[in-house]
Amino acid sequence: MKNKLVCYFSAAQSEQPIIYRLVKNYDLIVNILKADINPQKEGYLVLELEGDKNSYTEGVAFIKSLGVVVEPLSETIVWQSEVCIQCGACASFCPTEALNIERNSMEISFIDSKCVICGMCLDCCPTRAIQLHFEIKGAV
């Protein structure tokens, strides 16, 4: 299985070789998507973890056992209507019709609640009007 997680940690925890252990002891593929650690050594890591179900569960349990707060990554898609030129290119890539063309006006609109954050629309927008935002809380 494969999942994106945000790990919030404090100074003591950031001294631990977390990534090394995840790879070595739990045989997980770790992809660091984003990291922000302040000079006080507090901050967060956005990780993508991939491995078989057991190692994944044990790996996550290991991170938590260190006192690190682990949460599923909450991502949002932001559609900047003022940047969009209404070309319509994204609509045929959206599996849920969150991006949809009203066929009379040929105008595109974005309905947040229909978006499953699959990311399919990101590459095909020539104005980069659609962006993926990570939602990260303040440091723990």
């Binding site: 030129i85 319509g88 045929s92």
Partner: protein, 412 residues
């Protein structure tokens, strides 16, 4: 009696605020309701519009001189090189130019986040632009380096001069292969997963004057939010292709070369674009007014999406390797519905050209004419049309010998 109107008569009406102006969409219904003859009598001008990626675009800029003066050998605007093989401080920034250090497609597909089109947009948006130039130094131009910040207001001249815009019809791109393709027609999903088209169809300028009777050298137009002119036919102008009964080409045909003062344009209508895996380019907004000189012009402007066809072209092998394949035609009504049929299978369509923006341009131009701000121009010269003998050429394959260096004039 058949209706006939001259440019002068139409302009008189525009000046008096009495001209009847409709868009190329509105004229369709009016013609259907009243018939061609009556509609031709009533309507004076039909406005068209298009807004889409047009790589063959760019701007000439004269920066003024540094002190001491410089003969620029190379010039960069925000790191994007402009061609400077012309006079000392003149340069041409092309829409598809990339920064020297762009990663291109080294990690495929490349992102092409910034290029010449973005520079032009930023210039028009009055943003600050880094200007770097180098020269080799001469007695008259001793300076060898410039590195400064400029805005559009600091340069002497800046005019858009687009060698090929407003394509009269275009391919509808599909992918017959089994891997994703990243093209200038956007992302093409394998096994005909989508069909990508790029034309405003019934609103597009040259679809409404298919034989270029009124659009020619000198025609005044809406260009990039300001006023521009048709300078010449565009590059790759190729009018003698197969046409429908309505005269509309069934494949890419005519093109226009356009010119206009960048300083009076608007960043909303010149927008830098990034096509993943392909490159950077610019969306250009163009609107052309068509005088209804007679019933024939009215008929042309009343053309509708279902009567405009374009060819399906495979971008896996057909286009890149120029393999002739006959995959049939589709019309713009079906394309705009979101689905077409290909070999009995439903295929979703991907639009690349902005129809809402094209419509907005036709409306703006209509308002300008109605307010008496914009008069029509008779072409100074016509551009070649379907009966002119224009042949579409490719690069010949020949083996250059030593005598071809310096055009064969070697100084021994």
């Amino acid at each position: 009696m058949a209706v006939k109107k001259s440019y002068e008569e139409i302009n008189e009406k525009i000046k008096r605020g009495e001209a009847v102006v409709v868009t190329a969409e509105e004229v369709i219904e009016i013609a259907a309701e009243k018939g061609y003859a009556k509609a031709a009598k009533e309507i004076d001008v039909v406005t068209t519009g298009t807004f889409g990626a047009m790589c063959s675009s760019g701007a000439f800029i004269n920066f003024g001189h540094s002190n001491p003066r410089i003969k620029m050998k190379k010039v960069w605007l925000n790191g994007v090189e402009a061609y400077s093989g012309i006079a000392a401080v003149d340069a041409y920034i092309g829409a598809a130019q990339l920064p020297d250090n762009d990663p291109e497609n080294k990690v495929f597909p490349g992102r092409f986040s910034y290029g010449g089109g973005h520079v032009i947009h930023d210039l028009v948006a009055r943003k600050e632009i880094r200007l770097e130039a180098v020269g080799y130094g001469t007695d008259c131009y001793p300076n060898q380096k410039v590195d400064t910040i400029i805005t559009l207001d600091d340069v002497n001249d800046a005019f858009l001069f687009n060698p090929r815009n407003a394509y009269q019809n275009y391919n509808c791109a599909i992918n017959l292969g089994d891997k994703v393709l990243y093209t200038y027609m956007g992302i093409l999903k394998p096994k005909v997963g989508n069909a990508s088209y790029s034309s405003a169809g019934q609103l597009s300028p040259l679809m409404n004057d298919p034989y270029y009777r009124t659009i020619g050298v000198g025609t005044r137009i809406f260009l990039g939010g300001g006023i521009g002119y048709v300078a010449w036919n565009g590059t790759q102008h190729h009018p003698n292709v197969s046409r429908g009964e309505n005269g509309v080409p069934q494949t890419g045909a005519g093109t226009l070369s356009l010119i206009g003062d960048l300083k009076q344009m608007d960043p909303n209508w010149l927008v830098g674009l990034s096509f993943i895996g392909y490159g950077a380019t610019m969306a250009v907004g163009i609107g052309i007014p068509i005088p209804i000189l007679d019933e024939e012009m009215l008929r042309y402007t009343a053309v509708k999406d279902e009567d405009i066809f374009c060819p399906l072209v495979d971008y896996n092998e057909g286009y890149p390797y120029s393999k002739p394949m006959d995959l049939g035609l589709v019309n713009y009504k079906d394309l705009k519905s979101g689905k077409i049929l290909f070999n009995g299978k439903e295929v979703v369509t991907t639009s690349q050209s902005s129809y809402p923006r094209a419509r907005r341009i036709a409306e703006i131009l209509k308002e300008w004419i109605q307010r008496g701000q914009f008069e029509l121009t008779r072409p100074v010269a016509n551009i070649p049309s379907a009966d002119d003998d224009i042949i579409f050429k490719s690069i010949p394959e020949r083996k250059p010998g030593v005598t071809y260096f310096n055009g064969g004039n070697r100084r021994d």
